[in-house]
Symmetry: D3
Subunit: 274 residues, 6 copies
């Protein structure tokens, strides 16, 4: 069960309200790299967690933290919108600065939300929940979470560079820090469970006989003119310790030429296909 | 530039066509765990790759391989649909087996595609390209790719268990094998670049002074009644070697109580809010 | 800031796990009538609330409650999925009961989530955040919230009728009750602010001179052959007390015949249009 | 059956074509507050209306009116786009005014529609029909319709403030007026059926024994540090006349700690979870 | 401006209500091959039509007809749902026929719409307006319309085969007929304007010097092992009469190897990329 | 099976990087008129092609070509983004040119992709695969493909006019040329199969007795005040040679007034409807 306290998890200060930066910040709320995504992803993973309950607890605790991140970012968007116009007047229409502000805004911040945050990204595209990755497989989910936090910290770092507002920089430095922790926290679960060697390939419970292992450890060079890029993935033991990496160049197809033959009568095709 | 050869990358054989399994297989084509996603993800990452060009080459080569996976899976769906009805007749309507087949199918396999694969998942929801994760950051992208392949192998393993068709099991054992390789291939890039210690936190180019490092290494226990789950993430050196993990219990908010005050005149609010 | 306690807001008990009912229950999680929607809707309205802060507090408190509803519904879905197969075997394929169970399930409950809840509706369509209605106008938002709760209680009542599991009926009776309260709670805000007479038309702050009031109070009968349906809306004082209802039959257009003339050169049209 | 006459329902005049305002107006066509939504919502509600046929007739008549609103708004968009460039030339590229016009436009108004209206909102996001709310329950549908019209009038009022074109202001004043009527028309149905007391809780046909009525009339204060906001919803008779409002502070969970135990073999999880 | 008359454009009769066929029929309402699509496509094309106004008139007239098609199909869905259960009882849960009916239905026909049509396809995916193709180019739009009607008649023919209800077959035979007309009606516009020779390539107003005409008339065989499929497109005059068809086998790339070099500092990439 | 060679199909040169034009070019990658769409459409049509295999081969060959178009367009976007800022500084914030550049960009080109192409359109809306039209009917698919290429060439022509960069104009002139070929290539299939007379109505395999042919050849004038627009579609032989065109003015409905009667008990409606 959830509870709330009235103060924000972190202080939000906007020195120079910027409607354009409000649009940018939306990426951190409703973007695929944003906080709704991680909050919901950890929440749904927690609800489906089977096995050692401490991972479920971790997931729910951090889901709860991410809800608090949505909250202070939403406040930051609203404060940045304090400088937005809600009216256009004859003289203003000729002012290039007004034009620039309007052109750089999300118009729905005026028209739809009344100068408040929305669950959309910086293009105004609503977040869609298909981005909540929760497979029920702990290894896959931990990687998905580290990925989400890596994307999140990349975004926060870019936002940091795209503002010169000291308050916003301060808030983003907090987000950057928490994303640092969260990246490592999920990868630490993998380390605790024996590291990549023990956890790969995911799922590590797939029986050996379900896998055509002769195809499991070669890099396939599908280029007609490029040599195979050599690296850790082309020789040496595989990361799961179960095989040895190699490479295959200009591979031949292993399958047949597909042919579906004629179409069935009554299948809604042209007569010529039947 | 792309080229094509007429045979499939891998042999596809369906012994007992099953329209229901055709619906299931769609998840591996148009699901978020599917092949359109990885093909397009690696393709877009390759197009945006900056830095050492060998990673770009790897990405494009594997993107090309994934296009071939779509192709043989698409053929497998069409072969499974060979057993689907295209007509309903009086007597059939009373047959529970016909009912079961129809109820277990994707109706659009009859109505829309004419017994062929579609770029949709097993619920018939079209794939949407927002799932193509490509940040321009090599570390974030490698994690995203390992995640995608982990999800892919989880899916292929589940599909393997949900069919008793020997041909389908054979094809899926190939997919399981290639996903094994692809998971490790992307993580091997991270290993080659110094492993998690060197690559974390992502982006590792964010200047230290952009981060509120006092918040970078503690696990936040937001639960009111659960003790902190202890593990690799609560003590010891952080995975990036830059800090020491700890935990904070029942944290106090660090921010203010948000208050936006009154609404502006002409902002389209109720009079009582202004 | 959000917090969590480890127990569910309400007891969840499933006597006869039903994968089909798990699919149905998804509507209450990820449907437009579901709990993600209201949780996020109240949360975003709270973050944008301007004017008397008590409405903001109400919104945040109930948003928090709705998050707890997602949580126990998610658990109910997982418990209902305990009866789902994860493997198909030769003999089973001939069993009509297995067919019926599989045909009635969401296949992604097996393939994607590993027998857990997902943020999708009963058709497997992911929830999309464009359904979070938050205008910044208190009156519009209160109506939107009452609407959401009306839809929610209609759904919960239908789900109640579609199960014969005593545990599920008990859980749904709690949801039905909370939806009763929430419908009224939001309408009570309108009553407290003077009722519909004071709050309509929304926004009540639009200046009279922005409105072509000669068109504000007649019902338009656009039918060629039906008489105007008489009722509260065709005569008597308007609900906002500012006008008198009437009706107009077979109305004449008030505007011009539209004509855009020729297309511009270089506009990408056919020559014949230019 | 539908018919059409060649003139617009209302006169459209654009004195100063503004491609930026064309983008804004799109919100009134393809936004969730727009005319496609209400036209389709009333149309689908009408097609599913059961009970007294006069409500069906009302719905179909107003659906028809809303189609006419789409039509004149579409014309307004096209007229505003008459001022848009279809060509960029060397010198123009240096002109900040051209830059401002282009930056403030929806690029698809040039690239995709050829200077015409599109069924998208002001961010260019296409309207999606999941926003057509039609439950088959008359009370829920009337609230949904009043909500849609409230959102519509909020939007029209904001658009009115964001233009200084006399023709556009005139057209919007007509929309504001019709939205006034439509808000009240749907609420008048509720009044005619006995008002909120008789219609709440929606559905009013849910048997009392399906509801855990001990949870039906209290406001739940889920905050850890805020007092309950007092108001019409915390004391006095409930709006449905069936109970008495109260409030509960810092509530204890009523349910269990969820625990799904171990994962099944063959469920595609990590070995450690099984 | 639109008007309505109370009778349906065509008679709807359902002899044996079938909730499964109701689901199938949804494809003709809310599918990409369905009536919402063509109604809205012709409507938006009409609103943007420039040039000879008779094409605008045609478009609006047929848009209006398609609205009437939605209406009778919506009624057909509702009548087919008359046989759907709204309650599950202990004994029924064991009945394979009830299972089959429920498994073959769209659950939202019970849960969300209350036994009525919805603006979704046969998978329950809501129609999204990005499928309204309206380019402002008459030739492109006429082809798009013929395509939509071809898809529509393919669908109607398949639906005809998938029912044994005489009333439904009668209704579908009407739809098949109207789709016959509509396919030809749009292509007749092209014929009237000089046929493909005059109208191709679309847009026929693109100046010759904007086109690299040396690449305009060869078929590109990108296969490594298949001979060029010979046909009308590999030799003889082009359909636009401006060139001669030929073919190119195993083409060499004409461009460079792409290389973006190093990433910029502060671009949020890994240090190794900079 | 697919293969790749390292050079681009066509040379890409950007003389004056323009982040705004990068946004515009996205329409040609991820728009409904773009290259992902045609690549995937031809690919899925090929995978479902039944009948003469040469059409399957054509489809796969051109699908492969379109993948190469995505690739060079993606490179063009990245090169145009070379001029984009990744940092905002105090002084810059006051510069109207910086404002104009930022306002005219897709912010996700900075925040999400790190100055690279994305699979989205010029509004930043991700491509969704429902636009892959593949019916299994050769005639319908050929029309769909000609439509897609018509839209594509309209777009490329408009993009050509919206840039003054010689390199971009050169690349677009290649795209314009290939679209010329592809439009005709698909229509040539229809010509080879006997032309429209033989191929219409699509599907041409629908038995005559499934069609209410008395409704197959009249144009329906649904306008109350406009005369029927006369043309090739109102008289003379139909394009399929099976009938004679005519027109019907102010048509009477052929169906009943719909009436669904009362709602069922337990259907979740209001009591007044039952």
């Amino acid at each position: 069960m959830f509870h709330h306290s009235s103060k924000l998890q972190y202080q939000v200060r906007v020195d120079k309200p910027s409607p354009a930066f409000a649009k940018y910040l939306q990426q951190a709320i409703g973007g695929v790299e944003g906080e709704i995504r991680v909050a919901m992803q950890y929440f749904f993973q927690a609800m489906g967690a089977r096995g050692d309950s401490k991972y479920r607890d971790m997931l729910m605790m951090t889901a709860t933290e991410e809800l608090s991140h949505i909250e202070f970012l939403g406040h930051a968007v609203a404060l940045n919108l304090e400088g937005a116009p809600v009216e256009v007047q004859d003289e203003a229409a000729k002012d290039p600065i007004v034009h620039a502000i309007l052109g750089g805004m999300n118009p729905r911040h005026i028209l739809s939300s009344g100068l408040s945050a929305m669950p959309v990204n910086s293009n105004g595209v609503p977040f869609d929940m298909s981005h909540v990755y929760a497979t029920g497989n702990l290894g896959a989910d931990m990687l998905a979470n580290a990925t989400a936090e890596a994307g999140g910290r990349v975004l926060a770092s870019r936002l940091y560079n795209m503002t010169d507002d000291a308050g916003m920089k301060d808030m983003l430095s907090f987000l950057i820090a928490r994303d640092t922790m969260h990246q490592q926290q999920w990868l630490a679960v993998i380390e605790e469970l024996g590291g990549m060697q023990a956890q790969l390939p995911i799922p590590n419970s797939t029986p050996q006989e379900h896998e055509a292992t002769e195809h499991s450890y070669y890099f396939l060079n599908t280029s007609l003119d490029e040599p195979t890029p050599q690296g850790r993935w082309t020789s040496g033991p595989s990361l799961d310790g179960r095989g040895t990496f190699s490479a295959r160049d200009k591979p031949e197809p292993l399958g047949q030429k597909p042919d579906l033959g004629k179409a069935k009568p009554k299948s809604g095709t042209q007569t010529e296909q039947q």
